[in-house]
Every structure is written in structure tokens, then in C-alpha cells.
């Protein structure tokens, strides 16, 4: 349902600037988040795509954002994030806890 309300907005954004219309993507490669820091606008709801380029399984998790989702090797998942207050939110790979990244909300 929310996707339906989001769609016209995304279409408008697509007309204005094609790059903005795409959902933000974070890749997991060599146990690093790429990019390790992703910026999104405060108050916006985004559909974040997490793609796993490693041969191992990962679990995209953030205790601050209440998100946890398994990402299989070679697979990708989508997570809805926001609307959020400005700040820095940490996320990590629960199966490889040294793999960490941040969501910067401005």
C-alpha cells in the first residue's frame, strides 16, 4: 500500500533526475560494505537494496534501526528504512561482526 503512494513520488523524481529514482544499493564485498557510509534525507522512506557479492552468507543487521535480514551469497534483499531523524545509524553483518557501516541521515 505504501509502495503505491511512494510510486508517484519516485516517478516524479525519475523525471527530474534519473539517478535519484533508483533505490540506494549497498554491496557486501570482501567483508566490507560498499559504500560504508550511505546518506539519506531526514524524514524520507527509502527502500535499501543490500547485495552480497561475497561467497559467504551475511545477515544485514542494525540494532539502532531494528533491522535484520539474511542475505545469501550472490543474492540481494530489500529493507525499508525511515522516515528517520537526522543522525548516524550503525549497521553490521551479524555473521561477520567486524563488517560495519553507517547510515547518515541529514
Amino acid at each position: 500500500m505504501v509502495r503505491h503512494t511512494l510510486l508517484p513520488v519516485l516517478l516524479l523524481l525519475a523525471l527530474a533526475s534519473p539517478a535519484l529514482a533508483d533505490d540506494p544499493v549497498i554491496a557486501i564485498k570482501n567483508h566490507q560494505f560498499v559504500p560504508a557510509e550511505l546518506e539519506i534525507a531526514a524524514g524520507a522512506k527509502v527502500k535499501l537494496i543490500v547485495r552480497n557479492d561475497d561467497p559467504t552468507t551475511s545477515e544485514f543487521e542494525s540494532t539502532e534501526l531494528h533491522r535484520e535480514k539474511v542475505v545469501q551469497s550472490g543474492g540481494q534483499i530489500s529493507v525499508f528504512i525511515g522516515p528517520l531523524d537526522p543522525g548516524r545509524y550503525e549497521f553490521f553483518d551479524d555473521f561477520h561482526p567486524e563488517t560495519r557501516g553507517h547510515l547518515v541521515v541529514k
Binding site: P55, H66, E68, K69
Partner: protein
């Protein structure tokens, strides 16, 4: 190896604590071991199946299949825990009285063991599928040798089972005529914690509003990543930064099951009529 052990331990811990409480809650009931071990075995088999179809599940229903699956498993467990407690509130007193009278550990009362069997099965299913996916990924990547990984996984499993055994043995020290009152509270908190976790998955799937992302923040006192934080999370749904909707689901479960336990007619009264 240690990294593998720690990750497996954390996943096993939650399911093992559930099994420990369920075993204590069904203490003295005939054939409970058949139901509990059967539940765990079915859950582990199911976990392998779920892991095998993880890609399909994740992609299902517009990409929210994984959230729906987790939420469904959690809410089914909440319903079974609730049913167990309601049943116990109607018959528990007789069971306690019987235990005192016959002074034995085996009770003739037929607890609805399928409810508890399902609870442990669902716990093994949810946590087990993550362990299978994790270990499968490690094995395929070949970063560790298979033997080292196996040892790490076994160590983690053993540590998790030890935690479950510890809570079970601790509960065993409670006399049987008071045990069921204690396990009813534990089961109630377990159910509320699972409902709150289920709510978090529904928010993640964008099906319900979070009603405030962070109602309070106790992460400075106790993080969910620490061992005590994880134990509390498993036992009573501790979350350092709860979303509003999680609190709503938590309270609704406590009040809902509590009200059914309190206000459904007790069996003895029905018999008298």
C-alpha cells in the same frame, strides 16, 4: 573457529532457553520428552528446508517473504505459549495438588503437549535456519577448513545447550507444587518478547508503522549484543531501543494472555455446575 563458535552460540542460545523453560513447564508430565525432542527434530529438519529455499522465501511477496516468515513463526509460537498458559491456569492447580498428594514426579494430567512441542519446533526452525545458512556459507567459501568449522559449530552448539540446561536445572530446584506458577510467568514473558520481535519484522516489511523508532535507549546500560543482553532478549524480549509498536505488541500479549488466564472459567467450577 572462535568466531564460528560465537555466532552459532548466539543463535542456539535463544532456542535452547526456550527448550529449557518448556521442559521445566512440562515437568512430571508423561511423554513430554517424546514431544519436546520430536519438536526439536522436526524444527531442525524444517530449518534445513527453509535454508534450502532461503532465496525463494526472501524474494516472495515483493521481497518481504523473509519478514513474513519470521513474523508468522513468532506469532504462531506466541499463540501456542498462550494456549499452554491458559490451559495451565485451568488445570495447573489440580496438577500441583496431585503432585503434593502423591509426592511423585510423574503426573497423570494430560497437558496439551502438542502446544509445547510446536513451540520448541518453531524456535529450532527460526534459529536453526540461520545457523544452516551461516555454516553453509562458510563451508562454500572455504575460508576455514571444514573440520575447523565443524569444531567451532559444535562448541557453539554445546555452549548454547549448556545455557538451556542451566535454566532447566535452576528451575528444577523449585518444588513441583510451586513450579508451574513460576513457569507460567516465564512463558508469559517469553510470549510477550516474541510478539515484540514479530512486530519488529512487520515494521521492517513496512506493514505496520513503528510508532516511534526509539521510545527509550538503554544501550549504555546493556547492549543487546552482550551475553546478558542476549539472554534477557531471549527470555523477556529485552530491546535496548524499542520501537513504539514493539511495546504495543508486548503489552497486548501480556494483557491478552493474562486476561484469558484470569477470566476463563477454571475447570473445577465448571465441574461443580
Amino acid at each position: 573457529m572462535l568466531a564460528t563458535a560465537i555466532i552459532v552460540f548466539r543463535e542456539v542460545l535463544e532456542a535452547a532457553l526456550v527448550v529449557g523453560i518448556v521442559l521445566a513447564a512440562s515437568r512430571g508430565v508423561k511423554r513430554r520428552l517424546v514431544w519436546v525432542s520430536g519438536g526439536v527434530a522436526a524444527g531442525v529438519l524444517g530449518a534445513m528446508l527453509v535454508a534450502g529455499f532461503a532465496g525463494e522465501i526472501a524474494a516472495a511477496v515483493d521481497g518481504i517473504g523473509q519478514e513474513l516468515f519470521n513474523a508468522a513463526v513468532l506469532f504462531a509460537a506466541v499463540a501456542m505459549l498462550g494456549w499452554h498458559n491458559v490451559w495451565m491456569s485451568r488445570h495447573g492447580r489440580e496438577m500441583a495438588a496431585e503432585a503434593t498428594r502423591i509426592g511423585k514426579d510423574v503426573l497423570s494430567g494430560a497437558q496439551p503437549l502438542y502446544a509445547l512441542g510446536l513451540v520448541v519446533g518453531l524456535a529450532a526452525l527460526r534459529e536453526g535456519s540461520e545457523i544452516v545458512l551461516f555454516l553453509y556459507g562458510v563451508a562454500v567459501a572455504g575460508g576455514y577448513s571444514a573440520a575447523v568449522m565443524l569444531v567451532g559449530g559444535a562448541l557453539g552448539l554445546a555452549a548454547g545447550v549448556a545455557a538451556g540446561a542451566a535454566i532447566y536445572l535452576g528451575l528444577l530446584s523449585i518444588p513441583l507444587n510451586r513450579l508451574f506458577a513460576v513457569t507460567s510467568w516465564l512463558v508469559l514473558l517469553l510470549a510477550a518478547g516474541m510478539a515484540s520481535q514479530g512486530a519488529a519484522f512487520l515494521v521492517q516489511a513496512d506493514l505496520v508503522p513503528p510508532l516511534g523508532n526509539t521510545v527509550w535507549d538503554t544501550s549504555r546500560l546493556l547492549t543487546e549484543g552482550s551475553i546478558p543482553g542476549q539472554v534477557l532478549h531471549a527470555l523477556m524480549g529485552y530491546t535496548a531501543r524499542p520501537a513504539g509498536i514493539q511495546l504495543v505488541f508486548y503489552m497486548m500479549t501480556l494483557v491478552g494472555i493474562g486476561a484469558l488466564m484470569r477470566f476463563l472459567p477454571h475447570r473445577r467450577r465448571v465441574v461443580r455446575v
